[in-house]
């Protein structure tokens, strides 16, 4: 009898699980919007007075009323008074090597190091939402006495973390020279230090950089978060190198790193940086990170308050989590261009070597439908260059993008006929799905769009690494349907490495090997031009030219959603990219207020 009861219990539990699984998500949350608080900037980022407001720049984004009401875009600069202490819990999907020379780090190593100059990435700052702003870090100031020379003045008294093998000694210009020279020897950051011809150290706190050629945007390029974390010679030369000796001048000390599993960072008690009120940073005592490759587990961890923030990839996921966590805070961060659905053509092959065919394909794509269908209306159409430097207005001025971005299948058919394909042709899309369904669904929608003008598309799905191989070698069949890659959050990361013909040596950033002297000329001219207005003019010329040439079928992109627990404060996210950890303030200037005991 007892066994029967147990069996019956199991059956009932199974039925409950099935019912739960079948419960349809998707209803709009009904939670009332959180009350707005008075904006009081604190932490290292203060909103400059007299700055244009973000709303004035963008207006209201998106078409989802409830979302705009509950989580206005851009988010309000609500900061409050920082509280010290606590342990922040985060998740990470992958565990890259910890050596910053080999690859950019993740959360763990990012907090351990400082940079010389950094890109201000606090999305709450309205200035930053429309312009790129550089701010000092280890270099408190810099001079540009001539177009080839940059003199960096280091903050005095900065100490490395007080752990072996460096043991808290002071940072000097020799350390900076050593680190840059190591990066120049090769590895992930080689290209980012490549403009530097010579490094001199006139004194203990001065670094003089001589460039190979004039580069007006050097500081912006050099200050990109993917550049040069400064480490000590002792750590580099110790057994195991930087992969084992994670020692920098940063706000957090790597206390426990269990590769592939978890990490624990503890506050650096000797950290040099203070907030505007003179309070030493960081505020949070510890950061605990866990590797979780499964999105369901990440969401469940957030729901059960075991993590303080996580990233989501669709509005539906956001709606679903809001059901159980209506008080969460949501960042809706648009991508500058990174992650945009893009068709990379075999430009060396017929029919894609004909500009009319490329123009026709672009005009046959219904980008509005993509935004509505793929992203539930909360997405963004994208031009050939990142919006923040070209057309930051909202709604995006598509009339300025040129006619080939407009949906016009009739005109597209005409162009195809002119190119000698009145009945269309057959082609293949090769793609890999990233686990979100967006790439595959995007490919399916474009397949349907192109059918209207007589083009038949065969879809071939690949495994992710196989797609990377194709991307690097450029030998796909007709079209590689993929997302847009950039080399970092700086303008040159996004345009030089993706469009200049010399970048094609790599293949990854410019898989289609676009080689157009006019593009190179415009990029080079902009790079050497010191005048900002002239730079912008050249950039818009490039924008128009790329819009006309349609070398790449650039389409739409989804918003990045980052959800945060209500007790996590001031955890600003990076506006121009999607990688967590690039927004420095998340680690240095966020705090916890009323977090549960875990």
């Amino acid at each position: 009898m007892t066994s029967k009861r147990i069996l019956a219990g199991i059956v009932i539990l199974g039925a409950l699980v099935l019912t739960a699984a079948c419960a349809a998500p998707g209803q709009e949350p009904t939670a009332t919007p959180a009350a707005a608080k008075t904006p009081t900037a604190s932490g290292p980022t203060a909103v400059p007075s007299g700055s244009p407001t973000a709303t004035a720049i963008f207006g209201q984004i998106g078409s989802i009323d409830w979302l705009d009401k509950k989580f206005p875009y851009p988010p309000k600069p609500v900061l409050g008074k920082p509280v010290k202490g606590g342990t922040m819990h985060v998740d990470t999907t992958k565990w890259p090597p910890l050596d910053p020379v080999k690859i950019h780090g993740i959360w763990a190593t990012f907090g351990a190091y400082d940079h010389l100059i950094e890109q201000d990435l606090d999305w709450r700052d309205p200035v930053i939402q429309s312009t790129v702003k550089m701010r000092p870090q280890l270099a408190e100031s810099w001079d540009n006495p001539d177009p080839l020379t940059y003199v960096l003045h280091l903050v005095k008294g900065v100490k490395f973390q007080n752990i072996p093998p460096v043991n808290g000694r002071e940072l000097t210009s020799e350390d900076v020279k050593f680190a840059i020279e190591v990066y120049q020897k090769g590895g992930y950051r080689e290209a980012k230090v490549s403009p530097i011809a010579k490094i001199e150290t006139p004194d203990k706190y001065t670094v003089k950089l001589t460039l190979k050629q004039p580069y007006a945007g050097f500081i912006e390029f050099f200050g990109s978060p993917v550049v040069a974390q400064i480490f000590a010679k002792e750590a580099y030369e110790a057994e195991g190198g930087l992969a084992k000796n994670v020692v920098g001048t940063g706000p957090y000390i790597a206390k426990e790193i269990k590769e592939g599993e978890s990490f624990l960072m503890v506050r650096n008690p000797d950290y040099w940086q203070k907030d505007k009120d003179g309070v030493q940073l960081p505020y949070i005592d510890n950061i605990k990170g866990f590797v979780m490759s499964d999105i369901s587990a990440q969401i469940a961890a957030f729901r059960s308050s075991q993590t303080d923030l996580t990233a989501l990839v669709s509005l539906r996921q956001v709606q679903d989590v809001l059901k159980t966590n209506p008080d969460l805070f949501l960042y809706r961060v648009p991508s500058a261009i990174w992650g945009t659905l893009t068709m990379y053509y075999r430009l060396d092959k017929k029919p894609f070597n004909d500009v009319r065919v490329r123009q026709a394909i672009s005009m046959a794509i219904d980008r509005d439908r993509q935004v509505k269908t793929l992203y539930d209306g909360d997405g963004d159409k994208m031009g050939p260059l990142p919006w923040v430097w070209t057309y930051p207005e909202w709604p995006r001025p598509y009339d300025k993008m040129g006619k080939y971005f407009q949906y016009n299948p009739t005109e597209a058919k005409k162009l195809l006929a002119e190119a000698g394909y009145p009945n269309g042709f057959k082609m293949t899309f090769q793609y890999a799905e990233l686990g979100t369904g967006i790439v595959e669904n995007g490919a399916l929608m474009v397949q349907e769009d192109l059918r209207q003008i007589g083009i038949t598309v065969d879809l071939k799905r690949l495994e992710a690494a196989a797609k990377e191989q194709l991307r690097a070698e450029g030998n796909w069949e007709d079209v590689l349907y993929d997302t847009y890659y950039v080399a970092g959050p700086g303008l040159d990361d996004m345009i030089w490495f993706t469009w200049h013909s010399t970048a094609s040596k790599n293949g990854v950033m410019s898989p289609d090997r676009v080689n157009d002297p006019k593009i190179d000329q415009l990029l080079e001219k902009r790079k050497a031009t010191p005048d900002a207005a002239e730079q912008k003019k050249l950039l818009l010329q490039l924008y128009d030219y790329l819009g006309e040439q349609q070398y790449r079928g650039i389409q739409t992109v989804y918003f990045r959603y980052e959800i945060q627990q209500p007790w996590l404060k001031n955890a600003a996210s990076a506006p121009y990219n999607w990688f967590r950890g690039y927004g420095y303030y998340q680690q240095r200037a966020s705090w916890l207020e009323g977090a549960p005991k875990r």
Partner: protein, 316 residues
């Protein structure tokens, strides 16, 4: 018996060599490599630089050279260093094995305590409601994939109870409570799935044995049901069941890729999956050899256990 064991151990050598050769070549036939995986997503490293990294890692050498070097080192117990993390492969395996071992034994334990009693009840109460329910459970376990059950469990607990087992691995020696919270749910899911086959096998072999003459003799001697079932029928019926459990255990010890990933358990399965995704050839080879050794040894132990279970079985 000793000669048999020695012969089986010697036979392990060609099996392991074959396994190593297959995995060594197959992973290299798949497009992509560790360098592309490391810098591909955001790389602006030149092709020359990428080639330099490949050269440093030794993955640009001819296949036979790479295999010979690896095999020679492997027989000396050196499985090389992970191309991804730079850590010794053996160390990574040692770090991950306790998680997989615990999950495997706990899953098998749960499977056995579910499967054997239900299987026996099903057989002894054939075509009764108890039998029908037992068979229904077995069919359910066979039909529902573990990844589905695991995902549903995580979603269900998070959605309705705001609960997820604690994050980060907690050793049973450090904190038994947290450890059990982490392992019970995944082990129960795995155990339920594994119990289905064992349950069906127990039922069918028990039914077969219960129809044997010696069981009829036992009944006719007036023995109690418990004596007939447990002393006479079960010992013979369990031989094929032991084979099944042994095979299941060896597979479990090889790591449960999906379950470990969903429950964020840092075991051998997740390490293997990461190695495939990252094209970490050396780590993958080490993992496969580890799994192959476990499977071969487990099979040997299962075969040896037959002789213990059934004295009529003799190895020569």
């Amino acid at each position: 018996m000793t000669a048999y064991i020695i012969r089986r151990i010697l036979l392990m050598i060609p099996v392991l060599m074959g396994a190593s050769l297959i995995v060594f070549s197959l992973i290299r036939l798949v497009p992509g490599d560790v360098v592309l995986q490391q810098i591909g997503g955001a790389g602006h490293v030149s092709k020359d630089e990428m080639e330099k990294i490949r050269h440093q890692l030794g993955i640009d050498r001819p296949f036979h050279e790479q295999y010979a070097t690896w095999a020679l080192n492997a027989v000396r117990g050196d499985l090389g260093k992970s191309l991804w993390s730079g850590k010794p492969v053996m160390q990574e395996l040692i770090d991950r094995t306790p998680v997989t071992l615990e999950l495997a034994f706990l899953s098998i334990f749960i499977a056995v305590i579910i499967a054997i009693p239900i299987g026996v009840i099903s057989a002894t109460r054939q075509n009764t409601p108890a039998d029908y329910i037992g068979r229904l459970i077995a069919i359910t376990g066979l039909s529902l994939p573990d990844f589905w059950m695991a995902t549903i469990a995580v979603v269900f607990l998070g959605l309705y109870f705001k609960y997820l087992p604690p994050l980060g691995y907690h050793s049973p020696l450090e904190d038994l409570g947290k450890n059990l919270q982490q392992f019970l749910l995944p082990a129960a899911i795995e155990g339920f799935r594994l119990s289905a086959i064992t349950m069906r096998m127990t039922r069918s072999t028990m039914l077969e044995v219960l129809r044997q003459d010696y069981i009829r003799t036992a009944w006719s001697k007036g023995l109690r049901e418990r004596g007939v079932i447990y002393r006479h029928a079960m010992k013979n019926a369990l031989i094929p069941v032991v084979t099944i459990i042994g095979t299941q255990l060896s597979r479990q010890l090889g790591g449960q890729v999906i379950i470990e990933s969903i429950f964020s358990l840092p075991g051998v399965g997740r390490l293997t999956l990461d190695s495939i995704v990252n094209r970490d050839y050396t780590q993958l080879q080490g993992n496969v050899m580890f799994i192959a050794v476990i499977v071969v040894v487990a099979n040997l132990l299962v075969d040896i256990s037959y002789a213990w279970l059934d004295p009529r079985i003799r190895y020569s």
